[in-house]
Symmetry: C3
Subunit: 253 residues, 3 copies
């Protein structure tokens, strides 16, 4: 059995970006405190409208009114534990996509159990790196275990892989300097959520999101002297990036 | 009955800024997690001294020792709900001004009720946009409802309006790129609090705060390529802005 | 009795920096919400790997797996109060260094009591300014009171002093513009923790950390127009700083 090859190219990425900018989707983010400010700025630079409350009393209203939801498990305290099920329930009731980002589950057993339970709520996309994915499926081949689910996987690393019902594709954009800035991965999860709000194909949406974010990262790294100047340059690049730049730089492997 | 025309010009704005820089007022901010870091940097760049704790056990000591208080209702969790009344009580006991910023009350009914209750504590200034103001006074003409109170209104938007016992004035500084950076509005509320600490006239203080912040935003936008480089440029501009720049750019309408 | 003069020069600072970059130590930080994002970026720029959770359920796993721990008492809410003893216990059980930074204990009596209790757990280094140190030892000569402990003191200010079992030394690097950026002191505490993970001599480690951070601050201030552009320049400088730059600029007094 061969894996189907999903349709994806720079034209699809640029088209989804254009739709995103026209729609200005609301993305509600439950994310860790380190990532909140940067994630909001990434979404705004891209053309989306972030909201970030984690207060259990009000999170359902925000999630229900949003076009997509991000659940990032960093800094998983009691407030976030109380908020997440309410937000997920509201998003699912409103038939809105949601992204699960189980950051650092490989370093915290209690967080890992929590993530495993959340996976049963069928996020639209799971964003994880290789270590996090392995922690979620201990003692198993994590790809095989995962393949049985309806969830689309966006596995990030030096190379990125997107795998879902529509097939599997590999991407190789990005820059090492991005790893010297906190929360770039977390913000990338929010970008996937934003793209899911303008596409019914989670593989294409996740691939477009990773491509736009990582190509912007390459453009920023060329202008930056180090990880400090990379941040404003990255936000500028997300604001300025256009179809020809995506076409020039997209690396599908 | 004609609305009185409050005294306000660039000389008043520059004089209050000069007083602020000499006094280096302490501004205690209860604000949302997305805005905390940027708000502190805005206050420091301007010449004020921020403190930001929301811990209910210690917030009264910080608010009592501060020259002004900001209460921003973003991300209104249990800790903030417990802290706010203590901080407001301490500020009022010390006869210090306080600013209420009911962000997103139009998106969260529970937050809106909370804001309506806080309004009875008579903040010195209410900062709100048109949608937030309408949510606070449902089924009424919000301006008329508001006019019966002793609170000064700083209504922000493409144009800003400041209305208080001393009259009403309209301002038109700012730049669209500011809306592509998170927490610029929230930080603006903290700047109003800082200016209230050097003036007994809340209309003049709020107008000066909005003018200085928005003129700095214009200066920054001219140097920035996008919303990323806007942030460091805005903080630099708040640090560098002087009386001639305010005089050149002030747009009262 | 003369105070011993600890061995410290730019070669030692550069050597510890080189070791830090090779080791890429994990530094777990319990710190205030204003400082979290900037502290993580400072550690990453320098070559360390930050983790920042304050959730009591998972903090022990992170602290036990880290090479050093920072406990910063800013914004000391219930979650942090519950997390700190668990993190300290885990660090001590794993024989890992820990830094205590009692920010603003001079402004909050309840926070001061908490810090006094934590001092009995013998942090490797106490970072404090003169006012904070005085608050910790009321009615006493704080230096004399402190000298009886095994803790190394890193007292920061216009000039810095490092005092420990190995003796006392004074340093004079830095730039006034650093005080116009929030959380530079808090991030400095995390840098001390990172250097403690590559040295058994807490006086040398703290002196190297302050030197590298403050020399990077000087380099950044020369390129910045104000406190806004200082931030990206500081992170770039921490990433780029090398042995000759440290040798050129180190000011031991």
């Amino acid at each position: 059995m061969t894996t189907p090859m999903p349709a994806f190219d720079s034209g699809i990425a640029a088209d989804l970006l254009e739709r995103l900018r026209r729609k200005a989707p609301r993305v509600h983010c439950i994310t860790n405190a380190v990532a909140q400010h940067f994630t909001a700025n990434v979404l705004l630079a891209l053309g989306a409208i972030p909201s970030m409350t984690i207060a259990p009393e009000e999170v359902a209203a925000f999630a229900a009114g949003a076009d997509a939801l991000l659940v990032n498990l960093g800094m998983l305290d009691d407030t976030r534990r109380a908020a997440i099920p309410k937000a997920v329930e509201a998003a699912k009731a409103a038939v809105k996509p949601f992204v699960l980002d189980p950051v650092f589950v490989n370093r915290s057993p209690v967080r890992c159990s929590y993530a495993q339970e959340l996976l049963t709520a069928s996020p639209t996309v799971l964003r994880a790196n290789r270590d996090e994915l392995a922690a979620l499926y201990p003692g198993q081949d994590s790809f095989e275990a995962f393949a049985g689910t309806s969830v689309t996987l966006a596995m990030t690393g030096a190379e990125d892989m997107v795998a879902g019902p529509g097939g599997t594709l590999r991407l190789a954009n990005g820059h090492p300097l991005l790893a010297r800035v906190t929360a770039t991965g977390c913000a990338g999860g929010a970008v996937i959520a934003a793209f899911l709000s303008v596409s019914d194909d989670p593989v294409q949406a996740a691939a477009a999101a990773l491509t736009v974010f990582n190509v912007a990262g390459e453009m920023a790294a060329e202008r930056a002297r180090g990880p400090g100047t990379l941040v404003p340059e990255l936000l500028d690049a997300l604001y300025l990036i256009d179809a020809p730049q995506i076409a020039d730089r997209l690396k599908r492997i």
